[in-house]
Amino acid sequence: MKKIRILGWSALLLIFVASFAVGFKVAAEHNLDDGYEIGDLADDFSLKNVDGNMVSLSDYGSAKGFLVIFTCNTCPYAQAYEDRIIALDAKYKPQGVPVIAINPNDPSVKSGDSFAKMKERADKKGFTFPYLLDEGQKVYPQYGATRTPHVFLLEKTTIGNVVRYIGTIDDNYQDASQVEEPFVENAVNAMLAGNEINPKTTKAIGCGIK
């Protein structure tokens, strides 16, 4: 009787361990094709700006880096962060790290994010940075953007634009005055000073990209 019980427990233990192994395998596979990770080289792109011109990172000869921000017109989180994105550009463009905003949504699915509506929004809010349409939705999957707003801080180096930070702008979407950790500002400051960025990635709720 005792023997049977021990056997039973061993079997249970085996199942337990096996389930863990399976879990890890799935998790490892899951991470493979999720876009850029910290330290990766980000590809350049050529996308249409709301002013009608095409914009690429290579246009910015003297830039030290870029704040590539996937954002849109319609998402409540993107709207909550609009003024803060303008403030980031005002603060860091003079320091060589301009904001490049990209709308990753498909306007045929999300009519509020059409090119015409993007123009309207950029005019109304007085965007000081390019606001590009990811036409054909090729760029956002490459970066691994999953939501709006989603920030990728790139550092321009001799080998290309290196991804230094991926995540959210700060730790309080509701109230800019209650922010305790301005993640993006901390990251840009550290990058410009040649210091270690911490944290390098952050998570936030955002609108899924459509």
């Binding site: 999953t146 944290p199 936030a204 709720i205 609108c207």
Partner: protein, 184 residues
């Protein structure tokens, strides 16, 4: 015991923070719901419990023999609204079978009265609706699941034996099939 609960309740109102309850005590959780409600004028008459993450977290760790389907959604999230009928159907079909559906709204405070409540009333939502209102998302998202990037819809299904997180939307069939793997 009742007196102790009462004292706890009063203390919590004074200190304005929820005390973590033992996960197996379902009734205390209900008391806790009242405590976390904030004082802001517009929030007083919201008919759903409003949690910060500390107050919400015990809902992710019940150990009472039930299977929990925890769906993270918001009224502004179109795919969330599209899958809502499936969660409602699961709630009604499995209600007698020890399955509890909890709809966790991530709507922003200014939407609670203007969008969330009207949506729930209009669509006669029967599942339990709670509000998770905690801007420190980078702290709490990984506590729901390390796998979660922050997109919604997202759903956690768990019971005392099994736990799986899904950062995706569901059809009824997909949801039903997943849920069946939790119920023997």
């Amino acid at each position: 015991m009742t007196r102790l609960l009462l004292v706890l309740l009063v203390m919590s109102i004074f200190f304005g923070c929820a005390e973590k309850k033992k996960a197996d005590n379902g009734k205390s959780d209900i008391v806790e719901i009242e405590m976390v409600v904030k004082d802001g004028d517009e929030q007083n008459d919201i008919p759903f419990p409003i949690y910060d993450f500390d107050g919400f977290e015990p809902l992710l760790h019940n150990n009472d023999g039930k299977t929990y389907v925890i769906n993270f959604w918001a009224t502004w999230c179109k795919p969330c609204i599209e899958e809502m009928p499936h969660f409602e159907r699961i709630n009604s079909e499995y209600g007698e079978k020890n399955v509890e559906v909890v709809l966790v709204s991530l709507d922003m405070p200014n939407m609670w009265k203007s969008r969330l409540e009207p949506y729930v009333v209009k669509n006669k939502i029967q599942s339990q609706v709670v509000i998770l209102d905690d801007p420190k998302q980078n702290d709490w998202i990984p506590k729901v699941s390390e796998e979660w990037g922050g997109g919604i819809p997202a759903t956690l299904i768990y019971n005392k034996d099994k736990r799986t997180f899904y950062e995706r939307g569901f059809t009824y069939e997909e949801l039903n099939n997943e849920l069946k793997t939790f119920i023997n």
